[in-house]
């Protein structure tokens, strides 16, 4: 299985707010995605998962590293060629309110990628738009309406229709269901699943919601402070987590069963600020099993059974 997308040691550094230092929003991340696969990326806010996703499709220029898409380095592509390449990589955003231009009709929004890439004649485009509207399960009357007239779930469908209009190979889904109600969430997740099969898509699925990620992903990467701390097949990583952070994440989820009230593994404190990443293992200040070693040495990946975890004591908790 050759990789559709491969990131090699990509990092993103921003100047810090006081202008003195550097914020390492994403630090030396490598990952790969096979065709037809769904890679889930989980982590708390500020862990760099959205920045990573945007770098993978070069919406943000990486400070370091390469992004190979079908063995072509996107980072070194000239701008015009990159604009062409965008046909193959599309994105669905978290906020269905903010990502649709409120002054465009649904038809205009969905037709926009076709316009930009000059696909088809006018009538063909209109037909394609109708087709897409139907495909994502919206009423044909939606075409002439504006985004604010729709509910969150419907808007997310519009966003999805726009993303698949160009028949891309890869779709980056940046928290596609986080803003949606539970009953709608499941509709959209089902739709994504349908489309994946029908259009032979590959997904990068970013979410903070472990249960959603677990449900949709083939493989999962857990991020903490700009780095991947655990990565591997979804069932392994989420079913038998080896990194204490992954374990804590899973433990924090309340069980939907009042009879199974559990004792959470409570992490102390907040995720530290990316402007001020601790020495040694970045997780050690909050880690329930941290030892002296963790304070001084950054752990390397420890591979075990198809998954890898960046912990000195992986799997020993």
């Amino acid at each position: 299985m050759t990789a559709l997308l491969e990131a090699r040691g990509i990092s993103k550094f921003f100047p810090s707010r006081d202008g003195k230092g550097v914020v390492r929003a994403v630090n030396d991340v490598s990952l790969s995605l096979a065709t037809g696969e769904t890679l889930g990326i989980v982590g708390e806010s500020g862990c760099g998962k959205s920045t990573l996703a945007r770098m993978l499709m070069r919406l943000i220029e990486p400070s370091e590293g390469q992004v190979l898409f079908e063995d072509e380095d996107l980072v070194s592509l000239p701008k015009s060629a990159m604009r062409q390449r965008r046909r193959d990589i599309q994105i669905v955003f978290q906020d269905p309110y903010a990502s649709l231009d409120p002054r465009m009709t649904i038809a205009q929004i969905i037709a926009e990628p076709l316009d930009i890439h000059g696909i088809g004649a006018k009538a063909e485009r209109a037909a394609k738009v109708r087709e897409l509207i139907a495909l994502v399960g919206l009423d044909p009357s939606a075409a002439q309406r504006y985004p604010h007239e729709f509910s969150g779930g419907q808007r997310q469908r519009i966003g999805i229709a726009r993303a698949i209009a160009l028949e891309p190979k890869l779709v980056v889904l940046d928290e596609p269901v986080s803003a949606l109600d539970v009953s709608i969430q499941s509709q959209v997740l089902n739709l994504l699943d349908d489309l994946k099969t029908r259009l032979k898509l590959s997904y990068i699925f970013i979410s903070h919601d472990l249960s959603v990620v677990q449900h949709v992903s083939d493989r999962v990467a857990v991020m903490y402070l700009g780095r991947i701390v655990e990565e591997g097949p979804a069932d392994t990583v989420l079913g038998a987590p080896r990194h204490p952070y992954t374990q804590a994440l899973i433990s924090a989820i309340p069980e939907i069963d009042p009879t199974k009230r559990k004792a959470h593994v409570l992490l102390t404190g907040d995720p530290p600020n990316p402007e001020n990443i601790p020495q040694g293992c970045p997780f050690h200040p909050r880690c329930p099993i941290a030892q002296e070693l963790c304070r001084v040495e950054i752990p390397a990946f420890v591979t075990s059974g198809g998954s890898r975890a960046r912990c000195h004591f992986a799997g020993r908790a």
């Binding site: 708390e44 539970v182 009953s183 089902n190 069980e255 409570l266 907040d270």
Partner: protein, 323 residues
């Protein structure tokens, strides 16, 4: 219903005047909360749960909102008819409230200490210096270390979790009887969510608070609440003891809600989902609002609004409940 309820909402109907005429956002909402108990008011966005919470506090601007019917009995007093002056005495003193967005719910231009001390200054007539002692105490109570330094910080210097703790501190500083928590963890990360949840539980136990928890997260209700009321399209569709409702929901909406969560779904399978959309307040006709999305709907459901009646171990508003 018991006589010693701290809060009893009876038939609360709230309407808004819009440009297109009046619209009802909640209808005939009734529930009660005993001292020291926790009630979870669950539902999806737009179901009227936040309106209900804010109406109890009488925080909705009027106009355009108005209470069309019903009573809100708090410690025997009907808040629905109380004057703003009377409400000002109750808010922040007898009833504390925590909101969803800790990022925006604190005044960005005032120091934390000042904001926490305000209810004491308002209701206890304390001076700032006097209040500070209390503030430090309550900061420790909500788990904020280094309280003396925090007092002088501004909200933007704190993380989301700390801000929500500050919000809780504001809500409890006057030792209220009732805490209304409106989606208190929704905007927070999972690990922080768990912390706040633990904090609320601890406080409830320590202070004997009654908590009205407004949330869309069934998991949270499962963890925290003895009783639950599920709202859909402005009405309570199912209510009862949490264990009973979770174990055996009678209303198809509650059932769908519980099952559509990926936490309960099997990997690789399609998620059970409720088809269709929640009707907006101005498009709710007669009959059961859920009928259009309901697979069990009867002819009657489309014409007659079902009342909330006892079903098994709890109560549901459905003509064709799941047995």
């Amino acid at each position: 219903m018991s006589e010693h309820a701290l809060l009893r909402v009876e038939g609360l109907t709230v309407g808004f005047n819009t440009e297109q005429g009046p619209v009802r956002v909640t209808e005939d909402v009734s529930f009660e909360l005993k001292p020291g108990h926790t009630l979870g008011l669950v539902g999806e966005s737009g179901c009227g749960k936040s309106v209900t919470a804010q109406t109890i506090m009488r925080l909705l601007p009027s106009p355009p909102s108005r209470i069309d019917a019903g009573r809100i009995l708090f410690e025997g007093k009907d808040l629905a008819t109380a004057s703003q002056r009377e409400m000002q005495k109750i808010r922040g003193d007898r009833i504390g409230m925590v909101f969803q967005e800790p990022m925006t719910s604190l005044n960005p231009t005032l120091r934390i200490g000042e904001q926490i001390a305000e209810p004491l200054m308002l209701h206890r007539g304390m001076k700032r210096a006097q209040a500070d002692e209390e503030v430090i105490k309550v900061l420790k109570q909500v788990g904020i270390g280094n309280a003396e330094r925090r007092l002088l910080q501004y909200p933007h210097e704190l993380s989301g979790g700390l801000r929500q703790r500050v919000m809780i501190a504001i809500a409890i500083i006057c030792k209220p009887q009732l805490l209304i928590a409106d989606e208190p963890t929704t905007a927070l990360d999972v690990t922080i969510q768990a912390q706040i949840m633990e904090l609320l539980k601890t406080l409830q136990k320590d202070l004997g608070l009654a908590v009205l928890l407004i949330t869309h997260d069934l998991g949270m209700v499962a963890e925290m609440c003895e009783t639950i009321a599920v709202m859909y399209a402005g009405r309570i569709v199912e209510a009862g003891r949490t264990v009973n409702v979770f174990a055996k929901p009678h209303h198809p909406y509650t059932y769908g809600l519980l099952n559509s969560s990926p936490r309960r779904a099997k990997k690789g399978q399609r998620l059970p989902s409720i088809p269709g959309l929640v009707p907006p307040p101005d498009a709710r006709g007669g009959g059961c609002s859920f009928a259009a999305r309901c697979s069990n709907a009867l002819e009657r459901c489309r014409t007659e609004t079902p009342p909330l009646v006892p079903q098994g171990n709890d109560a549901a508003a459905c003509w064709n409940p799941i047995p």
